[in-house]
């Protein structure tokens, strides 16, 4: 009898549930997998801002879902597959560590379109997209070189993957254009998001004499430490000015919205193809937050640098690029390092006061 009642209850619930999901059938369902919480104010937050821009633009034709805090371990494959199984036709996986799980699920669901951020593995139904964040880093380097009184910059780094290393290199190359003797200290925190660790690293860098702090981690913790210490800092991923109104010089802003809209439109009209998108300042996938807390001449220099990168007259990795040992690195791209060398960067340029972990 009890069993019968439970079955009846379950059936009643099932009717409620089907009624709930029936009305959203015709819209294109788009799914997002996020690494952090949507409130991290960094990497994940900016993907969420991009998703919201997408909803604003195409809200009547699409329906979006996101899963947040999906760890890059065994859970991610299930989470991606859950989206694939629940009718999502276009799925964005927004962290490097989802590369293999995305590929596995993409092979299993050849009709569903996958877009993986910052990776290098692709399939007929799996494209990749990323930003040329090093362009913004170069501008930050120029500003930092001008603003540092002690000539020491502090860099909070996450993982020694090419993206992070090219960011470090672009920063010091930019800084060297205004101060050839600039020093760059790096602390590896081995996390993308851990406000406690990030704050500790910022304190340690400040104690070592760094008076401009920059980061490749996602929380505003370092900005807050810099504000307490009365030194300067750059935001990361989003405009973090409210965490350091007198501290932030500028911030690299990851602007995913236009890309998400483009990809969704392509999926809607059937023209979607798995591509390899790598956009920068010019295409506005990378934006710079307003230049603040700096004298006018530095601001003008920063704007000039930005304009030159957009115009294509300045490339942060213009040859010759000198390695840490002072010897020029082989230049495969003619005038500049070629994209493969930047995307696979595994060496420091001259002037970085650090050793790549594990190398």
């Amino acid at each position: 009898m009890k069993k019968l009642m439970m079955t009846a209850a379950a059936a009643a619930l099932a009717i409620v549930a089907t009624g709930f999901s029936a009305n959203a059938a015709e819209k294109l369902k788009i799914g997002f997998i996020y690494l952090g919480p949507v409130g991290d104010l960094g990497w994940t937050y900016m993907h969420e801002v991009g998703r919201q821009a997408l909803v604003k633009e195409l809200g009547d034709k699409i329906e979006t879902t996101y899963l947040e805090n999906v760890s890059e371990g065994p859970d991610s494959e299930r989470s991606i597959e859950q989206l694939a199984r629940t009718g999502h036709q276009l799925i964005f996986t927004t962290s490097f560590g989802y590369m293999d799980p995305t590929l596995k699920v993409a092979k299993k669901y050849p009709k569903i379109k996958f877009e993986h951020a910052t990776g290098f593995k692709r399939a007929p139904n799996m494209g990749t997209y990323s930003g040329k964040f090093y362009e913004g880093r170069y501008i930050q380097g120029v500003i930092a070189g001008k603003m540092s009184k002690k000539g020491v910059l502090g860099y909070i780094a996450s993982f020694p993957i090419p993206e992070v290393i090219s960011g470090i290199n672009a920063t010091i190359l930019g800084a060297q254009t205004v101060n050839p003797d600039i020093k760059l200290k790096v602390i590896w925190v081995n996390t993308w998001f851990d406000p406690g660790k990030e704050a500790d690293a910022a304190k340690a860098l400040a104690d070592q004499g760094a008076d401009v702090i920059m980061q490749h981690t996602d929380s505003p913790a370092a900005m807050q430490v810099a504000a307490q210490r009365g030194i300067f800092a750059f935001g990361q991923d989003s405009d973090m000015i409210k965490f350091g109104p007198k501290t932030q010089l500028t911030s690299i802003v990851n602007n995913w919205g236009p890309y998400y809209i483009r990809a969704a439109k392509a999926a809607l009209d059937g023209s979607w193809k798995a591509g390899d998108t790598w956009d920068g300042l010019k295409e506005k996938m990378v934006l710079m937050a307003p230049y603040t807390n700096m004298p006018d001449d530095v601001k003008a220099l920063a704007q000039k640098t930005e304009a030159a990168i957009v115009a294509g007259t300045l490339h942060p990795f213009k040859c010759p690029v000198l390695g840490q040992d002072g010897k020029a690195v082989e230049c495969k791209g003619g005038a500049n390092l070629d994209p493969g060398q930047i995307l696979g960067m595994n060496f420091y340029v001259k002037g970085v006061d650090d050793k790549i972990p594990g190398k």
């Binding site: 379950a10 009643a12 619930l13 099932a14 409620v16 549930a17 709930f20 999901s21 799914g31 919480p37 879902t65 996101y66 899963l67 947040e68 805090n69 760890s71 890059e72 371990g73 065994p74 859970d75 494959e77 299930r78 989470s79 597959e81 859950q82 989206l83 199984r85 629940t86 490097f96 560590g97 293999d100 290098f120 993982f159 020694p160 993957i161 090419p162 290393i165 081995n190 696979g344 595994n346 790549i356 972990p357 594990g358």
Partner: protein, 363 residues
């Protein structure tokens, strides 16, 4: 009128069985209220959480995948806790098991090593976990160090050892510096049970562990010894049981099981050694052990139930846009009610007319 908690003369067996059910019922009521506050239909939400994952082979298999490490670890922990030994560091033993077992997978990667690799990996994983658990166990019996602290602190040491290895010597040369080993070869991978789905032989191993633990606790001298030492240490000494040796034994067994769970997880669903292989399995297993009343079959049910809440929570995120945080709130509420209801095993609630009569009770 006054509400009083009155100590029972003896443990109430009826309540001991009813208590987790009562806790679950109270949790469901509380969650329904929360869903209603969020503007979601509680009936639909509860359906998505608890029934829908059971209606589909994919989610059923995923529940098993998720429950496998939880159950294996929790069984080992229950032996410790029954014997009044407080191993809190299963997470570290899980990681060291994964690390030790992965060693073979890394060194044989790309060679034509035979099918001996996987069994050897499993053995090394269990041994690694057991050895890691021996550190707090020896510190306790030799120096009287508090095993709660030592075993917990060793979690972070294990984590950093793994971190060092996958960033340094074991890093995939083709992995663009990402902290991960190369993907394990097929001979170093726990095979899946079916063509589709991720459920693997480790799930069967967990069932075998449950069966063995049931037999050991119910039918062997060792099981009796564990119970007596835990419940009545003085009586155990008179009976000639050596409590120090039992500390070593329970730590070794629980460490080995956690280590085995670790290497099975890495060689199964993950396929590589990388940071983040455990979303806190070693800690969640503590909840599973107590939710299952330190009983092997109870642990199996509790492990599956907790896995269900993970998978159901994910489904709720997708179909009802219910935030992930609510799944965590849910697990917290569940544990809270379980502990609260447990007090009813030893105490009864009574309404008493005048405070004077309550002199025996504990208010």
């Amino acid at each position: 009128m006054q509400l009083v908690l009155e100590k029972r003369a003896e443990r109430s067996t009826k309540i001991a069985i009813l208590s987790p059910l009562l806790a679950i019922a109270l949790t469901l009521v509380t969650m329904s209220v929360l869903f209603a506050i969020l503007g979601k239909n509680p009936a639909t939400a509860l359906y998505v959480y608890f029934i829908e994952p059971l209606t589909d082979s994919f989610t059923l298999m995923e529940i098993a995948v998720k429950a496998t490490p939880l159950v294996m670890i929790a069984i080992g922990l229950s032996l410790c806790y029954l014997a009044n030994v407080w191993n809190i560091g299963a997470e570290g033993q899980f990681i060291m098991g994964a690390v030790c077992g992965s060693y073979l997978a890394v060194v044989t990667n790309g060679t034509d090593a035979g099918p001996w690799v996987l069994p050897a990996m499993l053995l090394m994983g269990a041994a690694g976990g057991a050895l890691w658990a021996m550190i707090p166990a020896l510190c306790k019996v030799r120096y009287g160090a508090n095993e709660i602290l030592t075993s917990l602190m060793l979690v972070y040491v294990a984590d950093l050892i793994m971190d060092y290895l996958v960033r340094g010597p074991w890093r995939d040369p083709k992995g663009m510096n990402f902290p991960t080993t190369a993907s394990f070869d097929p001979v170093a991978t726990v095979p899946a049970l079916f063509e589709t789905g991720r459920i693997h032989w480790g799930a069967l191993a967990a069932l075998i562990v449950v069966a063995l633990a049931t037999v050991m606790l119910g039918r062997t001298i060792k099981g009796f010894e564990i119970r007596v030492v835990g419940a009545a240490p003085r009586a155990a000494r008179f009976a000639g049981f050596n409590s120090k040796r039992l500390v070593l034994f329970t730590f070794a067994v629980s460490g080995a099981l956690a280590g085995l769970a670790g290497i099975i997880e890495v060689a199964g669903p993950v396929g590589v050694l990388q940071p983040g292989i455990s979303p806190g399995y070693g800690f969640t297993a503590i909840i599973v052990a107590f939710l299952g009343r330190l009983n092997p079959v109870g642990i199996l049910i509790a492990g599956l139930f907790l896995a269900l809440t993970f998978i159901g929570g994910e489904g709720a995120q997708i179909s009802m846009k219910i935030p992930l945080d609510l799944t965590k709130v849910f697990q917290g509420i569940l544990l809270f009610y379980v502990l609260a209801c447990d007090s009813l095993i030893l105490y009864r609630i009574r309404l008493i007319a005048s405070p004077k009569k309550a002199s025996h009770g504990i208010a």
